[in-house]
């Protein structure tokens, strides 16, 4: 029953998210403008004092890191949204109906992916204007964008799972702020070479670093990878992280959804 209705349920659930964006053009505008502001602040303000070991422009080093951070930022709204649904009885109503839980959550995640694609395009355009270039051809570049969307998809699921688990919008909002330091503790902004050894290891094992380094490799942008395994094999590490995050977050989200409020 619920397996058969999964596409219908996913479509309705996705439509809900997209309608919210349609009614709030400001929300979409903000989603598109944040990356632009990030390129400005990090690329020009911080970048004015940065140099990449081994040469290459800082802004070109930065862009794959920013792409990865923008994907990571999906955690926060998904967390708050999941917690709001659980706290305000939306999940209760849906659970009292004969709908596919996996379908509902997948629909949300796919709708977010559409928004993410638009954000990725706007970030890339601003990046191009700031001097970022794709140097290894279209194929690897499309692979990099695919990987970034996959990471975004995984981050959305992580956020939804945590939000449903917490069930309180305020708590989710406060905990969600931890995403910012988590995103900083990476090689997204600075090479790990200058960090103390233990911190460099932590940063290199951060999934955001793996995705950023994978982007640098696939786009052909300057990079100064550290010595840890994920830094040496960023594409494999990024794919591994996405698989691991999805493998944990999808069942956790479905389970939390099925048990919310219990």
């Amino acid at each position: 029953m619920s397996v058969l209705t999964m596409p219908v349920d996913a479509a309705a659930s996705a439509r809900r998210i997209l309608l919210v964006y349609r009614h709030s053009p400001g929300l979409l505008a903000a989603s598109l403008l944040v990356p632009v502001a990030m390129v400005g602040v990090f690329g020009y303000v911080f970048g004015s004092a940065m140099s990449v070991p081994g040469g290459g422009g800082y802004r070109e080093f930065l862009m794959p890191g920013l792409f990865a951070l923008v994907a990571l930022n999906a955690v926060m709204p998904a967390m708050v949204g999941g917690a709001r649904d659980a706290g305000q009885g939306v999940t209760d109503r849906l659970r009292s109906m004969s709908v596919s839980r996996l379908g509902l959550l997948t629909g949300q995640a796919l709708a977010d992916l559409l928004v993410a694609a638009a954000v990725l395009v706007s970030t890339a355009l601003v990046g191009l204007a700031a001097g970022w270039r794709v140097r290894h051809g279209l194929g690897p570049a499309l692979g990099a964008f695919g990987l970034l969307l996959l990471f975004r998809f995984a981050c959305g699921w992580v956020g939804t799972a945590l939000g449903l688990l917490l069930g309180k919008e305020e708590t989710a909002g406060q905990l969600g702020a931890l995403v910012i330091p988590f995103g900083m503790l990476t090689s997204a902004f600075v090479p790990t070479g200058g960090m103390p050894g233990w911190l460099a290891a932590v940063a290199e094992w951060n999934p955001v670093s793996a995705v950023a380094e994978a982007g640098r490799q696939l786009f052909g942008n300057p990079s100064a990878p550290g010595g840890a395994w994920p830094a040496q094999h960023p594409v494999a590490a990024a794919l591994g992280w996405c698989a691991l995050l999805l493998g944990l977050a999808v069942p956790l989200a479905v389970r939390s959804f099925a048990r919310s409020g219990r």
């Binding site: 029953m1 619920s2 209705t5 219908v8 349920d9 479509a11 309705a12 659930s13 439509r15 809900r16 309608l19 919210v20 009614h23 709030s24 706290g87 305000q88 009885g89 939306v90 209760d92 109503r93 849906l94 659970r95 009292s96 109906m97 004969s98 709908v99 509902l104 409020g261 219990r262």
Partner: protein
């Protein structure tokens, strides 16, 4: 239909050390409006959540429209509607869109979902606001939309968990008329409420829960008749409340509630021991208590509630204040 729409047998559920439901039995026939009353923590919401397939019972069975809520949850879900204490609607889209999306999730076709949404909006006087974002709705309108949202799939059984908590009187009356209309069309309604006047107006049957058990189950009129007469004594300032309390306790066989600030005592007399006003005055007099006012009156549902749950008058502000509105 002879089979009850809701049939609950020996239902128990614990949360940690607390028994939310303790061997509960309940039958609700088709088309009835059953009001579940009880103090906070009596198990009202737990019962609704079990019947709506949201929580599994530890022991016992519950059947809705003939289907077991655990073994055949999917069949139950296709036949029920749920509206809770919150407005479980998406704020960022319009009322109409909310209803249409729920229609799709109930697996109506696109055309049917649209028609159903439009019909419900008109019927429950939401057409004017239908194409505005829910974010801009008043609290009452949101809850009305939430109630309407539970009706999309034409449920045979409707569960309303405190549908008017926190609403202004006008919004409450609008919800009431909607529920009455539904019941007239044959929908079976199980409603939990803290507002006794609400149960009195809507329910043709009251089930009073206390600590997970049924302590009373009857029509509002019979419940009121069964608990006897309400006795109220008002004493002048400085009078001996304790002595008056003892007299009242002896006469009524109950536990008189004392409001020291107002110098007021009240008790519900045992129906087996009819109490006449002259006797009350005589006994008070004999005990050396001079009352400034003595009255016997027909109890309201909140008196029933207090008598049967042993709650102290004034402890629960909601019961005290809102019962009086009736």
């Amino acid at each position: 239909m002879s089979d009850p729409v809701i049939a609950v047998r020996g239902l128990s559920k614990r949360f940690g050390a607390t028994a939310a439901l303790d061997g509960l039995e309940l039958d609700v026939p088709e088309g009835a409006v059953c009001g579940l009353l009880g103090p906070n923590g009596a198990g009202k919401s737990t019962l609704v959540r079990i019947l709506a397939t949201l929580v599994r019972p530890d022991r016992g069975t519950a059947r809705v429209c003939g289907h077991d809520v655990v073994k055949d949850a999917a069949a139950v879900r296709r036949r029920i509607g749920l509206a809770g204490q919150y407005a479980a609607v998406e704020e960022g889209i319009t009322g109409r869109e909310n209803l249409e999306l729920l229609g799709r999730l109930h697996h109506l076709g696109a055309t049917e979902a649209r028609a159903r949404a439009a019909g419900l909006l008109e019927r429950y006087r939401l057409t004017e606001a239908a194409d505005r974002l829910v974010r801009g709705y008043s609290g009452g309108m949101r809850r009305r939309l939430d109630l309407v949202a539970s009706l999309i799939a034409r449920p045979r059984a409707l569960f309303l968990d405190e549908p008017t908590t926190g609403l202004d009187p006008r919004s409450r009356r609008e919800i009431w008329s909607a529920v009455k209309e539904l019941a007239q069309q044959g929908t079976t309604v199980l409603l939990t409420t803290q507002y006794l006047d609400e149960a009195d107006r809507l329910a043709d049957r009251i089930v009073l829960l206390d600590r997970g058990r049924t302590v009373a189950d009857d029509t509002p009129a019979r419940l009121k008749a069964a608990i006897g007469t309400l006795v109220e004594v008002v004493l002048p300032e400085g009078a001996d409340l304790e002595r008056a309390r003892a007299v009242l306790a002896a006469l009524t066989g109950g536990h008189p509630a004392v409001d020291p600030g107002q110098g007021r005592l009240s008790a519900v007399s045992d129906p087996a021991r009819p109490l006449a006003l002259p006797r009350l005055v005589r006994e008070l007099d004999a005990a050396g208590v001079t009352a400034s006012d003595v009255a016997l009156r027909t109890p309201s549902l909140d008196d029933v509630f207090l008598a049967l749950t042993g709650a102290e008058r004034g402890r629960s502000g909601a019961v005290e204040d809102l019962g009086r509105v009736a």
